[in-house]
């Protein structure tokens, strides 16, 4: 059988095309010039030139998270690869499928400290799902196809392919994607039916059940979100979502208790603490969710559905583990529930809902909006209100604004919410929003930002201008690294060490300098008009919204505390000093 002989760079483009790739986020350099030459010669794949490699990875994450496809990154050797590392680890922690092609010095120079050489596979080994160094042109195409398989199969994640320049210039034979089968990696997709029956049995006896769902539901695809909703509707069980899971169940549904965890709602966290059967679906008992482990949901039986066996029994011992894809398991669970005509204890469930209603009545997200200074919560509530009914995607940076956005924005569909959950990467939001806008040119894409975070990847405004991507940056400007300041207030005696945002730029002029639109809101009365104008303008916009400098993000479970020890507001914090054990935790 005659196989095509192509140069390495030609094979890269052909393999990407065969994988259905439509867009690459990248930045050129010496080691990847042959690939850029091939990009120049074709017009099937679009290349988005970012201004920093970290942003290329975040943009690819945004693209991937909002479409369910694999995001593709292309960077050069050495600094190109090292700059991408933060993005790779971000994708790893949040299970986002990304394939990152990195240039490398020619094979005979590897290990010689050559110009722009870095041990890319060594550096990225712990922050990728898998990585490759291609040393044989004939293995190149197969490696790329395998990388796409690994990135999106099982628990998704980033995969790096390191490409020495001589491999890109030299010839090799091309293999199509259909011929490639992975030797060892075959994650379990279908759940064990015995375990599923066991879970249904446990749930039918539950008096205080809770569905605790995370990003795994979204990774499993939109069908999984529908199945989750169907299951919740069949059973009338309350649902809470993690930060990564927002949108997996309709946020406006009365069965939704709000987000769980450190800055989750009172009702969600108390339900978590008091429930008797918990189903963890595509979430991982993260320390932001569990609070103090030995006080976590002490009287509950726990069922855990996860595609990654290493997530099970890592932090919390569970009673019934179901390894498999969330969508497949939920489908089977619904079937078993129906076929067994399982019933819930309606009276107990009523009492449970009544209890939840009492917690809800505490109205934990309440805040006091005066008539002058804008409260950040108010700005987000208006943003939520004024974007309703549109096709809207929200990304965030990291900090207080991120938690407020999670609390006050409503997501009724999956894939509409993009945030750096696991790694907590400041500077994530703007490039991620860029990736979303590339994938959804007609959608309204808003990056909710803080004035400190936005400075970390502000250079991407230039990319937005170049490709006419009308991303909206909505800065909640409190002139502090708000979350750092909040912790310093609560834990370090109000000594605000280095957490103020000094010498900030004039964000309106900054927007204009990039050629974008700058808007400002200083008073409550200006908020609506500014948001409306931001939405109407079909260009990139930066909104500088000056908000209350001292507002803290509540409710809050202090580190080292249990769910039922959460602080509801400023009045709580004096009464309960944070323990020394808790101080050590982040």
């Amino acid at each position: 059988m005659a196989q095509e002989t192509l140069t390495g760079a030609e094979m890269v483009l052909k393999a990407l095309t065969d994988q259905g790739v439509e867009v690459i986020f990248g930045y050129p350099g010496g080691a990847v010039l042959p690939i850029y030459d091939e990009i120049f010669k074709q017009n099937k794949i679009r290349h988005i030139l970012v201004r920093h490699e970290q942003a290329a990875v975040h943009a690819a994450e945004g693209y991937a998270r909002s479409t369910g496809k694999v995001g593709v990154v292309l960077v050069t050797s050495g600094p190109g690869a090292t700059n991408a590392v933060t993005g790779l680890l971000d994708a790893m922690m949040d299970s986002i499928p990304v394939v990152c092609l990195t240039g490398q010095v020619p094979t005979h120079l590897i290990g010689n400290d050559a110009f722009q050489e870095a041990d890319t596979t060594g550096i990225t080994r712990p922050c990728t799902k898998h990585n490759y160094l291609v040393k044989d042109g004939n293995a190149l195409a197969r490696t790329i196809h395998e990388a796409f398989y690994v990135a999106q199969t099982g628990r998704p994640g980033p995969v790096v392919i390191d490409l020495p320049k001589d491999i890109l210039m030299g010839k090799g034979s091309y293999e199509g994607p259909s011929k490639v089968q992975h030797k060892s990696y075959r994650p379990q997709i279908k759940g064990d039916l015995n375990r599923i029956e066991e879970a249904v049995e446990m749930l039918s006896k539950a008096r205080k059940p809770l569905l605790y769902c995370g990003g795994g539901v979204i990774n499993s695809g939109p069908a999984a979100s529908q199945l989750l909703t169907q299951f919740a509707k069949m059973t009338n069980f309350p649902v809470t979502l993690t930060l990564m899971g927002l949108g997996a169940f309709p946020g406006s549904d009365p069965q939704f208790l709000g987000m769980v965890g450190m800055h989750g709602t009172y009702e969600a966290n108390w339900a978590m603490h008091d429930c008797d059967v918990m189903v963890c679906i595509g979430a991982r008992f993260d320390d932001r969710v569990t609070g103090r482990l030995n006080a976590f949901a002490p009287n509950s039986k726990k069922i855990h559905i996860d595609i990654d066996p290493s997530s099970v029994n890592k932090n919390v011992q569970v009673d019934c583990a179901i390894i498999g894809d969330v969508g497949h398991v939920l489908e089977d669970m619904i079937k078993v529930w129906k076929s067994r005509q399982a019933n819930v204890d309606a009276a107990a469930l009523d009492a449970w809902w009544k209890q939840i209603g009492e917690w809800r009545a505490r109205d934990c997200l309440r805040y006091q909006q005066g008539d002058q200074i804008i409260k950040p919560q108010y700005a987000l509530q208006r943003l939520n209100e004024l974007t309703k009914g549109r096709e809207t995607y929200f990304s965030t940076e990291v900090g207080q604004h991120q938690m407020w956005a999670a609390q006050f924005l409503t997501f009724d569909k999956p894939n509409r919410w993009l945030t750096s959950g696991g790694l907590g990467t400041m500077g994530y939001g703007l490039p991620a929003a860029m990736g979303v806008q590339v994938a959804h040119p007609d959608a309204l894409v808003i990056d909710v930002a803080g004035e400190a975070s936005i400075m970390m990847n502000i250079q991407e405004m230039s990319t937005l201008m170049q490709y006419r991507l009308p991303v909206k940056v909505f800065i909640l400007n409190n002139r502090y690294m708000g979350m750092v300041r909040q912790w310093q207030e609560l834990l370090h005696g109000g000594r605000y060490s280095e957490s103020y945002s000094e010498s900030l730029p004039d964000f309106v002029k900054l927007a204009e300098a990039f050629g974008a639109v700058g808007l400002r809101a200083d008073k409550v009365s200006e908020v609506d008009d500014v948001i409306k104008e931001m939405i109407e303008v079909n260009r990139p916009v930066i909104v500088d919204c000056a908000v209350d400098q001292t507002e803290n993000c509540f409710p809050m479970i202090p580190s080292g505390a249990a769910h039922n020890e959460m602080l509801l507001g400023p009045a709580d914090q004096v009464a309960k000093p944070i323990s020394e054990d808790g101080m050590v935790l982040v």
Binding site: T121, H130, K183, S184, S310
Partner: protein, 170 residues
């Protein structure tokens, strides 16, 4: 308070693709997550399929041991992970080369003990022996301890290779 769980020692057999970086991945997993490696051996066992077998002896709480197994299984080039300690009886062997330097009665005594342990002399000079000894880790430990007062000069150990008893392969 978290109850203090006892530390247990387990032996894992891991079948992996013999490709560049696979050992670094396994070791990086252990160092990155703070797991212990008591012993580690690796060699190719299937030339045609390019498979290597790694034997790892590790210790930790039962929860950590379960995590180690799951984390190893999650590595892309890993085919199989077996916890030999859990999955029935197994044989584990180690080889050591032990250099003993001395003369007179001590030299004779070292030979006598080597004979009891069925260690072989693989190198000899007028003032030294190199013994080769094969057996379970504890047997090697005992032999080396006995050699200590008799002029123990150098030890090289291979680490543990292990395999399940009975007809079933990995």
């Amino acid at each position: 308070m978290m109850q203090k769980e006892e530390i247990v020692r387990h032996t894992f057999s891991v079948l992996v693709n013999n490709e560049a970086g696979v050992l670094a991945r396994v070791i990086g997993l252990f160092s990155g997550r703070g797991y212990n490696i008591d012993s580690l051996t690796v060699a190719e066992v299937d030339v045609h399929e390019k498979l290597s077998r790694i034997t790892i002896v590790t210790s930790g709480t039962p929860m950590i041991i379960e995590q180690i197994k799951a984390q190893l299984g999650r590595l892309v080039p890993v085919h199989k992970v077996r916890d030999l300690t859990v999955e029935g009886p197994h044989v584990s062997r180690e080889l050591a080369l032990v250099k003993v330097v001395g003369s007179g009665e001590k030299r004779v005594e070292s030979l006598r003990i080597a004979d009891i342990f069925r260690a072989r002399v693989v190198d000899s000079t007028n003032e030294s022996f190199v013994f080769e000894i094969v057996g379970a880790t504890e047997k090697l430990d005992a032999f080396i301890n006995l050699m200590e007062p008799l002029g123990l000069a150098d030890v090289s150990r291979t680490g543990v290779a292990a395999i399940a008893r009975g007809p079933k392969p990995l």
